[in-house]
Amino acid sequence: MEHTIPEKHYLNEATGWKSWLMTLDHKRIGILYMIMVMFSFFLAGVFALLIRWELLSPDKIFMGPEMYNQAFSLHGIIMIFLFIIPSIPAILGNFVMPLMIGAKDVAFPRLNLASWYIYVIGFCFAVYALFAGGIDTGWTFYTPYSSESTTAVIPILTAAFVLGFSSIFTGLNFIVTIHRLRAPGMTWFQLPLFVWAIYATALIQVLATPVLGITLALLMLERVVGIGIFDPAMGGDPVLFQHFFWFYSHPAVYIMILPGMGIISELIATFSHRRIFGYKFIAFSSLGIAFTGFLVWGHHMFVSGQSDLAAVIFSFLTFFVGIPSGIKILNWIATMYKGSISLDSPMLWALSFLILFSIGGFTGIVLGTLSIDVHLHDTYFVVSHFHYVMVGGTVMAIFGGLHYWWPKIWGRMYNETLARIAVVMIFVGFNVTFFVQFIMGTQGMPRRYATYLPQFQGMHGFSSIGALIMGVGFLLIAIYLIHAIFRGKPAGPNPWKSLTMEWETPSPPTAGNFEGQPVLEHGPYDYDKVIPENSLKPYKTL
């Protein structure tokens, strides 16, 4: 069946740059975010490749230690604050979530646009810092090093501070939207699991981010006026800074991974064509992770000199974060059982997620164990672990989500063959890059090293080759996805034959999302009751 692009949709409804920069449409704001966030991803990716290039040899190739320290700090800061935290909520959450719950927009459209502008301001500060001396503290800003560093610490702290507000406002907006703007009939347990995940994420965003704000503000005051809270010379305590920092930054890890898990739930259900197994367990495990995530920050500090009592409590609670993640993985696999599985490219991303995130999870258990963490803390084992979670988890999920919703966002389909090649490249490249880092880490290779002992050169070289494969893979994705926007074949309203509400709108959707107020007619995963087709069907409205 040939599909056509509808005549009027949100992309051409109004034209001109002003219609974009002043838009209040959540879909357009999602796209504005996509441009900025993906550019940040590219920028941080370049730093990653520079790092891997320099590490081909223990001797200096082109970066001395000072430049290297800047490269890894900028890689971390840009990846975390500018890419991975806003990525899924701000791009896909913005675009898809209101459609999924049958809403015309988010609760506060102006605040939504303001969040984007705040993000842009933060981005500008970060870019300014890049040219005003860079930053060499690592993304963790540990005192007293960060209060002494001669690099552009203040601009980068301002950037992170400002970006925090963007994150808070997005989270606030989503919570209210999910509470107040659900379509009639959409009870909490009829919500798609992606919405549950976005909800849990938003809770963390509003609860944890203010503490980051005050922490960074204190650090700035420490540098500018010398209030001495974290300064050992004035009776301050640097370990206290670590508590303040990780109270935000550990839950932030779940800001990064939870929405990814939400996407995977959608992908597994759609491409297995099957009702999701253990819906409530998956939904509540998201909330469980969000809550427990607040109680475990001290596991970043087992060797920091915190009290042994604290270390023991934090380690004990850490193991309880593992359980909800395990529940999710097993429920996803159970969903595939007796399904009708189609291995389209979004599903391949989801399968990569399952495997890589499992490795990330298992190595997390190793690190949560007190005695072993003493050995592995701040080594490449940690580096590899969180890349398995963040890249193997979140990045796989966001690209799975982009491939899944790309036809909905633009109305056009990308080249499936290239998409499959790309996912295989990323999967292979990723494992080549990071698996050896587990071995290096256990053997004692510390992280953030510009140079290293010759015994590690073989493994570092191997790792760098993998990074190159990944880099080419991401480039390939950029090419065919952008090509699809202009030249792709029209995809039709529901190319994957999914049952969630966003697929009942035309692709691309109209500016107001729905004609009238839609009413929920079937659950998001009722594959045993309803047979979805790739065509527009009139839905019931109020």
Binding site: H179, A233, M234, V239, G298, G305, L309, A310
Partner: protein, 146 residues
């Protein structure tokens, strides 16, 4: 759900005035009590009165008593997470050096080993005041076993 009257719950003027007066009286009480010394109870009394005042403001001025329970949940939730933050951090700060405090004792006197500050008086070890604790005795027994 569309019951506008419930949303616009108008409280009687006298209630507002009564709550306001109660807050003022409690302020006077807390200042008066602070002039007396109850030892370690001082902090508890002061905080207890503050909590009562805060509850009055939240319940009546902020209408929590009459509004949808979800707002109460949001507010209490924020306090809960704040409590987690403070208490868990204190698991560290109050219990530092549990295991080896005594061993380090001779060194505490010269604890400012960072660049010496000129403007401030010498600070003591942050954990120097921390009291003997349960875990300490526990670990000591283990030491003696070795």
């Amino acid at each position: 759900m569309k019951d506008d009257a419930a949303q616009r719950h108008i409280l009687p003027l006298n209630l507002y005035l009564a709550v306001g007066s109660a807050l003022l009286v409690l302020t006077v009480i807390t200042v008066a009590v602070a002039q007396m010394d109850f030892g370690p109870m001082n902090l508890l009394i002061a905080m207890g009165i503050a909590v009562v005042k805060a509850t009055l403001v939240a319940m009546f001025f902020m209408h929590l008593k009459y509004d949808n329970r979800i707002y109460m949940l949001v507010f209490v939730g924020s306090l809960l997470f704040l409590a987690v933050f403070i208490i868990f951090t204190m698991f560290d700060t109050l219990r530092r050096g549990d295991i080896y405090e005594e061993i380090a004792e001779p060194y505490l006197k010269e604890a400012v080993i960072y660049r010496t500050a000129e403007t401030t008086t010498a600070s003591s070890h942050p954990a120097a005041d921390s009291s003997q604790t349960a875990i300490k005795t526990e670990t000591e027994t283990e030491t003696s076993e070795q």
